[in-house]
C-alpha cells in the first residue's frame, strides 16, 4: 500500500491526473535566480465555469505542502480536497458563481515542473539540478497559465500561508490583473524564526542517507525518514500549545502506563509519527527543500528598496487580510505590517483577526467567523464588479 502510494505520487509528478499546460521553448519561465526554466509545465484544477466576460475567475494559491486538488479527492491519498470547507457550490467560494482555478506551484511535485519532474536534457529527474524557485517565479508561472486560459483580470487571488505570499506577490507585481486579494495567515516576509524551522526540516531531509545528495529518484531510494522528521517538526508549528493540550494533553497511546522506553507512549507522539508517515507517501523530499527555500527567500519589502508600502503604491486592488490569534508561525503582527503598508499606500483594505486556538492551520479548518468574513468580502466585491450570483 505504502509503496504503491509512493509510486503513484511519482507518476503524478510527470503525468498528473489534472489538466496540464505545457510551455515549450518559445515560452520560457524567467527565474529570479537569473536562469530560465524551459520547457516547463503547470498542472491545475478548475471548478465552476467562466462567465461571458471572463470576469468571475478566482485563483486559489496553495500552501507549502498543498496542491491543486482544492475540492476534489486527492489522486494519491484519496482524501477530500484541502479546502472543501470553503470551496464548492453555495460555499464561501461559490463554484456556482465563480470560476475557480488552482495550480500546482512550480517546484512542487503534483504535476507542475519541480525537482521530481524529468529533466528533458538528461531524461532523468531534475533533483537538485532544478534552479532554486522563488514565490515570484511561482506567480509568473501562474500568470502564464491565466494568459493561457484567456483571462485578463482575476476577480480574486486568495490563499493562506505560502499561498498568501503568492497573493501578495500577485497584488504587488500584477496589480492591474487582480481586482481583489485575500492573503490569509501570512506575511510579507519569512521571519528568522520561520527560516530556522525550515532549516531544521531541510537538515533532517539531507541527513537521511537515502536522500543520496538529492539523487534518490535515480537510485530508486526514498528518504522517507528524514522527510517524516521534517514534517513532524513543521506540523508542531502549524498548531498551538492550547490546541495540542486540548486535543492530546498528556494522554497515553493505547496503554495504561509509561513503558520506560522510547515507543510512542504519548498520543501526541503517535499523532506526529502518523503525520510524518502519511506525508512522505505523497510528497517529494526535494520539493520540500525547494518550497521551504522559496518561502525563506520571500521578502516583498526587499523587492521594493526595503519599503513595503512601495510594493502597493497606487494599487486599485481591494484587500482583505486575515490572521488568527493563536498563529505563532505568521502572527497577527505580520499581517498588521502588511495592513499598515496598504493603509500608507492608500489601498482599500479590510483586516480581520479571527479568535481561535487552532494555530496556523486554522485557515484550513471550519472557522465560521473566518468564513463569514471572506464570504462577506467576496459577495460585496462581486456585487460591485457586477458578477451575478
Amino acid at each position: 500500500m505504502t509503496r504503491s502510494r509512493v509510486a503513484k505520487a511519482r507518476d503524478e509528478a510527470n503525468e498528473p491526473s489534472s489538466q496540464v499546460v505545457r510551455f515549450g521553448p518559445d515560452k520560457p519561465l524567467k527565474l529570479a535566480a537569473g536562469l530560465t526554466l524551459s520547457p516547463f509545465q503547470v498542472a491545475y484544477q478548475t471548478y465552476g465555469s467562466l462567465n461571458g466576460d471572463r470576469s468571475n475567475a478566482i485563483l486559489i494559491c496553495h500552501a507549502l505542502t498543498g496542491d491543486q486538488h482544492v475540492a476534489n479527492p486527492h489522486p494519491v491519498t484519496g482524501k477530500p480536497g484541502w479546502w472543501e470547507a470553503l470551496v464548492g457550490p453555495g460555499q464561501v467560494i461559490d463554484t456556482d458563481r465563480f470560476f475557480v482555478i488552482c495550480a500546482n506551484v512550480i517546484g512542487s511535485c503534483l504535476g507542475s515542473t519541480g525537482p521530481a519532474s524529468l529533466n528533458p536534457e538528461t531524461g532523468e529527474p531534475y533533483g537538485l539540478d532544478l534552479p532554486v524557485i522563488t514565490v515570484k517565479d511561482m506567480v509568473r508561472a501562474q500568470v502564464m497559465l491565466v494568459d493561457h486560459l484567456g483571462i485578463g483580470r482575476l476577480f480574486c487571488v486568495i490563499g493562506g500561508s505560502m499561498g498568501g505570499m503568492q497573493v501578495l506577490e500577485w497584488a504587488a507585481s500584477f496589480p492591474e490583473r487582480v481586482l481583489t486579494a485575500v492573503p490569509i495567515a501570512t506575511g510579507a516576509r519569512h521571519t528568522a524564526q520561520n527560516i530556522a524551522f525550515h532549516e531544521v526540516g531541510r537538515q533532517a531531509v539531507m541527513a537521511d542517507p537515502d536522500w543520496n545528495g538529492g539523487a534518490y529518484l535515480k537510485s530508486g531510494k526514498h528518504p522517507g525518514k528524514g522527510l517524516a522528521v521534517a514534517r513532524m517538526a513543521a506540523h508542531i508549528t502549524y498548531l498551538s500549545e492550547p490546541a495540542l493540550h486540548r486535543k492530546f494533553g498528556r494522554n497515553l497511546q493505547d496503554r495504561d502506563q509509561l513503558t520506560f522506553g522510547f515507543d510512542a507512549d504519548f498520543q501526541i507522539e503517535s499523532y506526529l509519527r502518523h503525520q510524518g508517515i502519511t506525508f512522505v507517501d505523497r510528497f517529494d523530499a526535494n520539493s520540500y527543500l525547494y518550497l521551504t527555500r522559496a518561502m525563506d527567500y520571500f521578502d516583498l519589502a526587499a523587492e521594493h528598496d526595503g519599503h513595503l508600502t512601495r510594493a502597493f503604491t497606487g494599487t486599485k486592488t481591494r484587500f482583505c487580510v486575515v490572521s488568527f490569534t493563536s498563529d505563532w508561525l505568521f502572527p497577527t503582527e505580520e499581517s498588521r505590517m502588511v495592513v499598515h503598508a496598504l493603509n500608507a499606500a492608500g489601498a482599500s483594505v479590510s483586516f480581520v483577526e479571527i479568535d481561535t486556538d487552532r494555530g496556523h492551520d486554522a485557515f484550513l479548518l471550519d472557522e465560521p467567523e473566518f468564513h463569514a468574513a471572506v464570504e462577506g468580502f467576496l459577495k460585496s466585491a462581486a456585487r460591485n464588479a457586477g458578477i451575478s450570483s
Binding site: 481591494r318 482583505c320 487580510v321 498588521r336 495592513v339 499598515h340 493603509n343 500608507a344 499606500a345 492608500g346 482599500s348 483594505v349 479590510s350 483586516f351 480581520v352 483577526e353 479571527i354 479568535d355 467567523e369 463569514a372 468574513a373 464570504e375 462577506g376 468580502f377 459577495k379 460585496s380 466585491a381 456585487r383
Partner: protein, 204 residues
C-alpha cells in the same frame, strides 16, 4: 434613512456634513452603521478603523473596508491628506490621548468630523451636584470603574483644545437626545448646558 440608535443620534448629522463621493475614514467604526449609511446614500469611498474584533468582523462580513486597529496606535500609519474627511464618532472620549488623536485626524484628513457626548450637559451637572456620584445616564450607561470612556470633556473643553492645537471650527452643532440640532445660533454656554452630543467639523 434615519438611525434609530439613541446612542448614535449623531450619525445623520455627520452624514449631512459629508460631500457625496468623498474619501472617508471612519475611526471607531463600530458595527459599520455610519459607513453603511455613507456608502449607501453618499456614495463615498469609505474605510474604517475599529478596535473590537467583533465590530471589524461584522463590518467585513457586510462588505465594508474596515481594519482592526487602535486609534491611539495605528493612525500614524495613514498618509497625510489621504482622505477628504476623517470621522471620529463617539470615540474621542475612549482614546488614551485625545489630543494626539485629534492632531492625527487633522493630518490625515482635509477635514475632521468629531462627535462626542457632552459632559457639560445639565443632567450630568445635576447628577454630580445633587447625588455626588459619577453620572450614569441613558447616554452614558457605564459605571466609573468599567467605562471605556476615560477622557470625557464638555463642549467648552473641546473648543479650548481646538484652539490650543490650531484647529479651525468650520461648523458645530449641539444635539438633543433625539439627534435634533438645538438652538442653532446660541452661544457656547447654552450648547454646553443643553447639548447631549456635539458634532464638530474641523480643519487645519
Amino acid at each position: 434613512m434615519s438611525v434609530n440608535n439613541t446612542q448614535r443620534v449623531d450619525l445623520q448629522v455627520i452624514a449631512d456634513l459629508i460631500r457625496p463621493g468623498a474619501r472617508v475614514l471612519d475611526v471607531g467604526s463600530g458595527d459599520g452603521a455610519l459607513l453603511e449609511l455613507l456608502e449607501g446614500h453618499r456614495k463615498v469611498d469609505g474605510r474604517g478603523l475599529e478596535i473590537s474584533q467583533r465590530g471589524v468582523n461584522e463590518c467585513v462580513a457586510r462588505g465594508l473596508s474596515v481594519v482592526q486597529g487602535d486609534a491611539d496606535r495605528d493612525l500614524v500609519f495613514y498618509p497625510d491628506r489621504g482622505f477628504d474627511y476623517v470621522v471620529l464618532s463617539q470615540t474621542l472620549q475612549a482614546t488614551h490621548n485625545p489630543r494626539a488623536v485629534l492632531e492625527e485626524l487633522l493630518r490625515i484628513g482635509d477635514r475632521a468630523i468629531v462627535s462626542f457626548p457632552n459632559f457639560g450637559h445639565w443632567r450630568v451637572r445635576l447628577s454630580l451636584l445633587f447625588k455626588g456620584r459619577m453620572p450614569v445616564t441613558k447616554d452614558l450607561p457605564y459605571s466609573w470603574y468599567d467605562t471605556p470612556n476615560i477622557h470625557f470633556c464638555t463642549i467648552r473643553d473641546f473648543v479650548a483644545l481646538c484652539e490650543e492645537i490650531g484647529a479651525t471650527v468650520e461648523s458645530a452643532a449641539a444635539l438633543d437626545a433625539n439627534g435634533q440640532k438645538i438652538g442653532l445660533s446660541m452661544p457656547w454656554w447654552f450648547w454646553n448646558f443643553f447639548g447631549q452630543q456635539a458634532v464638530f467639523l474641523l480643519k487645519r
